[in-house]
Every structure is written in C-alpha cells, then in structure tokens.
Symmetry: C2
Subunit: 436 residues, 2 copies
C-alpha cells in the first residue's frame, strides 16, 4: 500500500516521506507525530500519524497544513538471527502466548497490528530476555482478550500443567489486558503449582516508543524465576518504565482504559515489586513459596454462569430469564454493602429454590460486603444469597464458575465461595488498601 | 423489648446493663463495644454490641466471656425544642430528604435504624445547621437508595424545581449512598439551575460515634450557599472528620463499600473543598456560577434502558432478550477501550437495525474509550454502537435514559450522548485523575 494522488501530492509539497516526524495543523488543533504509511482503512485524502501517546490516528488533509520537524529513519524491527543456546546454569522459563498487544508488533507499512506467532519472533523482538533465563515460547492462542472464554482458560491451565509437569522452573503467560484479571483468577483456582505462573501483557505494542511490553516481559521472567509460586499478574507499577508490581491473581483488576499502570491490587497490596528482571522489594511474607509438591489441576468449570449488574430500573424479569435459560449460577454486582432493589426478592427466592447459586458482590469495587447491616442485606441472605465478601465481581464470577464445576450441591458451593482458596478472601477486611 | 432469661443471666453475673462498654471474648476473638438492647432478630442466647466501626453485631453467648470496661450512660438523642426563627440576613436553604442513613437515627432500645421524618426531627439532631442558614426540611421519600427508580428521580427533580422557582437560595438532597451517583447524574441532566443543588448522605447514622452525617450535612449547607450552581455530591474527603469534597454530579462514583470517603471524582478533580460549612479551597474555575437565569427542567426519561456488563462467557442471547423485550436503549459495560466479544456483533447489529440505542463504556471505570485502536472497537462503531467517551457506566446509563426521553431518533440520541451536557464528557481526556 502507499499514499495515492491527493495525499501523495500533499506530502510531496513539503518533501515528507514515511517515517518523518511532522507537525500537522488543522484549524486550532495541532498534531505532532510520525507519518505512517496509509492503513487499510484510510481514505485517499487521509494520512496516518503515530502520535505521542502511541496511538495511530487518521487525519483528513483538507484545510490542513503539514510541516517537517525531523527527517526520520523508517523504524524497523530488527530480525537478526537469535541463536538460542540453553545454559544449564539458568532457569528454564516457558512463555505461553495467548495473543493480545504484548505478542504483537505494528507493521509500519500498514499501521496494522500483527501477532507475533513463533518463539523466535518473540525472542527476536525481546532478545535481552535470553540473558535472564533459558526461554522457550509456545503460541497457544492468538486472540484479543475480549474474546477469551472459560473453555480457553481450561486449555491454558492444561498446557501450563503439562509444562510444569515436564519440569519448567516457571511460566509466563502473555495475554491481552482486557480480561487478564478474569484469566488470572481462573488459573488461580484451577492450578495449585509448585512454581510461579506469571501473567503479563502490554498496553502498547512492542515497537511503539511508549511500549510497555519489554519491561513487563522482563520483570515477568524475573517473577517466574522467583520464589513466589502463585498465579500472579506482573505489569507496570507507574507511568514510567521503572518497575513492575506483582499482583495476586485473584486480587487484581484493570482499572484504567489506557494507562500502562492500569492493573491494581484491590483491597490488598501487591505481593512484590520487580525491577530490571529482579526482585526489588517484597511487601508480604504471606505467599506460597516455590516447593516440590506435585502440581494439582482442578479444571472443571461450569460455564452457565452470568454476571448481573444491578441499577435503578432493573427488573426481576432479568433474574427469571436466566433461571428459565438453565443458568446454574448468577453473580450479582449489587450496590454498597451488597444490595439490590427489594422488588427483586421474589425472583431471587425462586432462583434459589431452583437450585441456582447466587453470589453477591459490590459495584463499589473496593471494600468488603456486610449483608447484616441493613434489612435489604438480611433479606437477601435469608433468600439464600451467598456473600462474596471482599472479592471483586470478576474474581467472584470466575470462582462461581469453578465452584459449580467442583460440585452441584448448593451447600458445597456455598462452602467453596465463602472459603479462601487462592488469596481471594481477606479474613479481616482492611480499609487501608483503597485506590492504591 | 429486653434480654430474656439466658442472656439476662449472663449479663447480670457481671453486673452489666444496656449502654455499658464491654469486652466479650469468644475463642480467640475479642470484641469491644457498647451493649445495646436486643434487636428484633436476636435470638434468646444472643447479645447485640455496637462495635468500634459503628456497626451492630449479634453474638452468641455460649462459650463467651464478658467483662465490664466502663459503666455507660445510655446514649440518648436530645429532643430539645428547637425554635426556628428565620433570619432575613441568612440564606434560605431547603433540605429534601429521600431516605437513607443520613436521615436516620438508631433506636438504642432495639438497635434498629429509624428514619427521621419531619423537619424538626432532622434539625433537632443537627441543630447547629441553623447557625449557617435558614433551613427548611421536606421529607419526599423514605427509601433505602438501592430501591431508587428513574420515576423517583423525576419526582425529586420536580420538587427541587418547584422550590427553586419559589425562591430558595440552594437545595440539599439527603439521599442513601448506594445509588447517590446515579441520582446526582439524573438531576444533572434534568435540571439547569441558577442555584446550587447538593446531594449528600452518610455511611453511619447520626447517633453513631463514627457518624459522618453531621459533617456532610454542614458542608452541604455550605455548598448550597456557595456560588457553585451545579448538581454536586458533597461527602467526606478523608477517613477523618475534617472536610468534604464537592464532586460534579456526573463525574462521581461510590468506590468503597464502607469508607466515609467512598465518593470519588472519576477522571476529574473535585470542584471544591468545604470545611466547617464554608468553602475552604476551589480546584477549578470551570463551573456554572450562581445566576439569575430561569431554571430549566427537562424531566422526560425513558426507563426501558438496561445495563449489560460483558464478561468471558456472555452470550449474544442476552442482547436478543433485551431487543425482544422492547428495550429502547442498552448501556454496555465493555472491557478495556470499549470492547465486547466478537461473536456478539450480529446481535448488536440486529439491535441497531431495530432502532435501539447502544452506548459503550468501560468496566475499567477510569479512563476514556478509544474504539478506533483495535479492530473490535471499529467493528462495533460500524455496527452503530455509540462511544460513551470518558463517562462512567452509571452516568452513561442515566444519560441514555435521558437522551431517549428527549428524542426517539437515533441520530439525535447519538448527538446527545456524544455532546457534553453537564460536565460528563471531558473533551480532552487526561491521565492525571486516576485513583485520586
């Protein structure tokens, strides 16, 4: 692809070519960025700029002025041959790629994001990782994480289990960020592992100036080599490229649409901090240490589970719909300490009578439920609703899928939901870890 | 009500009576608190303690040890006669009570929370408010805010409009905290007011040692006297009883189940800070000033609107269900920059073809959407989905109800959703106001 007549004329007049840093003025707005080749979607009178925040934008050139700031060398990914020689002194770390921005690079010819499929591709883009460990890469999926499904969690857990049983010293899962915290919760419940399982991703692809992929991958490999044998999420701790925080997989959430430090521990502190691929500080001794126990895989999940968020105006018909459709579990995102409108109570009772597990959480995100304070909460408990304690709605949803995979008996399910399995429930809730 | 045989014997042995500060030990757990009279729900072998965090708990006394810490004077609400004499030098502020914890007091006889219905009751409990302004109180509703409905928003808006048209200098709405931010958004869209409309509430009722009701009411009256003629939420700024933050009604959210400083501005800073019933600092000049324009009430709302939160495992049947049920609008809480699974696209297209307005927001809570970055977002835009920009899901839901009340034409609705009406859309999104 290349720019066509109108755009090409516009660029030629100012002697500008692809890869140059330019300033475009349109009306009162000014854009600075690197000129990319036109994307598939671009119309003939549009040019495509990679702007400072790392995103690509299309600009209509009518009434626009363009000015060269600096001639650019067209950025290129170096595809040198990386020779991979295993060093017996180093840990063996497996990177499992499921897709997402972290395992993608931008094609500067088209502006489109392409997946990096093979081990050698990912290592070519991040060859410094080989200084840290012997690294093998497996491409399991290549999907954007909004398309993740419970069945993919199961396959991912099985693949990880196989590799750990075969002797790897730690696993890094490269994953899209949109639903990373759902997957980290799912792997937390399905896997009891003697070695670390670290999930990471990126908010900007590898070849963007603002990419977070390399820092996240490097520190994830560090975490996978560490003594922290839990399922964790390792992502940027700040807006800067300084360190990553390591979050417990059941207590973490994507809290910002675009910031690199979007992942935050909820009602909890991060377990540790990693810098330059090494442990930099540890916040707690309360984690599972690397051990020689046999890996335990519990990969039965019930997928007939739905999330219902309450709101002023919700109707009880929505509960009835899910009951009629044969759902086995409902995760309710209530308000405050765990409430829904009182006119929903009959539908809740009916669902309970039909043996459907109903778990309450709060759309406040932070803080623990207390369904004993107000009459609404007490009535819901009496109707059989199970309190999700201080679990995030997302973790509680995943746990409900998993609990229903372990037993169809409502008492068993209640016991599982209210028992801490993988750090998801704080016995004593603290007000301390709010918005941190 | 009074304690019966088993519990009474237990208390008599240690010479403990209602109102005393006691220590109860059960196994390894120790509770300190004030002994309340038994609540309705308490069984004969239970006692009820008001513990330090302000909540009441029931304790089974079997195997428990009780010890007197301090004889208590039974706490009582002072029901002195408050003589209300209007001072022509002072502003006239109306408090409209809709229910919730802020307009309740605990009955120390039963431990139950009772609503304060009349003007004189509320003023008796908070008589210092009369130093700040001439205060009138109207009880409009007495409901827990999880039971709020769009039709109550409309009635509240009408009542406020009447009072402002009758000449009050400012309005304070006392409201439950669970859905306060939905109501503040609704009033923001329905009312263009020449004077302040301040919504407040409490996380602990007036007579608890840890109550936040008085500080919130006092500073709300201060805000209602101020120059900030917007719909705002005025609540504790910290865990301490020091000051309140004044949040724009469309940019605020309950972010913690129990903290007093639970309300936080999202992607925004609070407009101002109030201390001792007076303006203490102002963060921006970007607000509507008190003026003499005529109040504008636009109170048409469409209530056939639903919130759908996406999750791994969601089915397109859920969209079809809402279409078949005659919904006019769907607010989707997507992932990341504004995504849902790609297999939902056909159902979305069908909904759009049937003239249903579909607005996208993000379950990240913070940050703005950008549906142009990834293919999923572009496909959704092509299918007619409207980007909610940096609106919270709750504000966008309310705005969609309101937009559909203004017009049934999808182009009009799209224009309304994407145009800033009441400070809900930041034209230039900033990464700055994250978790503040």
């Amino acid at each position: 692809m290349a720019y066509k007549k109108i755009a090409q004329d516009f660029l030629n007049k100012s002697n500008i070519s692809i890869g140059d840093l330019v300033k475009v003025e349109k009306g009162e707005i000014q854009y600075n960025g690197i000129l990319l080749d036109r994307s598939e979607d671009a119309e003939d009178n549009h040019i495509v700029l990679k702007i400072d925040n790392g995103y690509n934008i299309g600009l209509n050139i009518s009434n626009a002025k363009i000015e060269l700031i600096k001639k650019g060398s067209k950025p290129e990914i170096k595809y040198d041959n990386v020779e991979i020689v295993n060093d017996p002194e180093k840990d063996n770390i497996l990177i499992i790629s499921t897709g997402g921005t972290v395992s993608s690079i931008i094609d500067y010819k088209t502006g489109a994001v392409h997946p990096v499929f093979t081990a050698s591709d990912l290592l070519k883009a991040n060859s410094e990782l080989l200084d840290l460990a012997n690294i093998d890469v497996k491409a399991l999926y290549n999907i954007l994480s909004e398309n993740m499904k419970p069945e993919y969690w199961v396959n991912t857990a099985k693949s990880i289990a196989d590799e750990i049983n075969n002797g790897v010293d730690g696993v890094v899962v490269a994953h899209g960020t949109d639903t990373m915290h759902y997957t980290s919760a799912a792997l937390s419940f399905m896997l009891e592992s003697p070695v670390p399982i670290v999930i990471t991703g990126a908010q900007r692809s590898s070849d963007r100036p603002s990419t977070d992929a390399f820092l996240n991958l490097m520190n994830s490999v560090g975490a996978a080599k560490s003594n922290i044998a839990e399922v964790t999420v390792c992502m940027h701790g700040t807006l800067d490229d300084v360190y990553c925080d390591l979050h417990r997989g059941t207590k973490v959430r994507k809290m910002h649409t675009s910031r690199r430090d979007t992942f935050r521990s909820i009602d909890n502190e991060p377990i540790a901090r990693f810098k330059n691929g090494e442990l930099s500080s540890i916040n707690t001794n309360n984690y599972t240490k690397r051990n020689s126990k046999e890996l335990k895989l519990s990969d039965n999940l019930e997928s007939k589970v739905a999330i219902i968020k309450t709101f002023p105006g919700i109707t009880e018909e929505l509960i009835n719909y899910h009951v009629d459709k044969g759902y086995k579990g409902l995760l309710i995102e209530g308000t405050g300490l765990g409430h829904i409108p009182d006119y929903m109570l009959n539908a809740i009772k009916r669902a309970n009578e039909e043996n459907i597990a109903i778990v309450m959480t709060s759309q406040c995100i932070y803080g623990t439920l207390n369904m004993n304070v107000y009459s609404t909460g007490r009535k819901l408990l009496n109707a059989g609703v199970i309190s999700g304690g201080d679990m995030t709605p997302e973790t509680a949803y995943v746990k409900l899928c998993w609990a229903l995979g372990q037993s169809e008996n409502l008492n068993d399910v209640t016991n599982i939901i209210t028992t801490n399995i993988a750090g998801e429930l704080n016995e004593k809730s603290s007000l301390k870890y709010f918005l941190n």
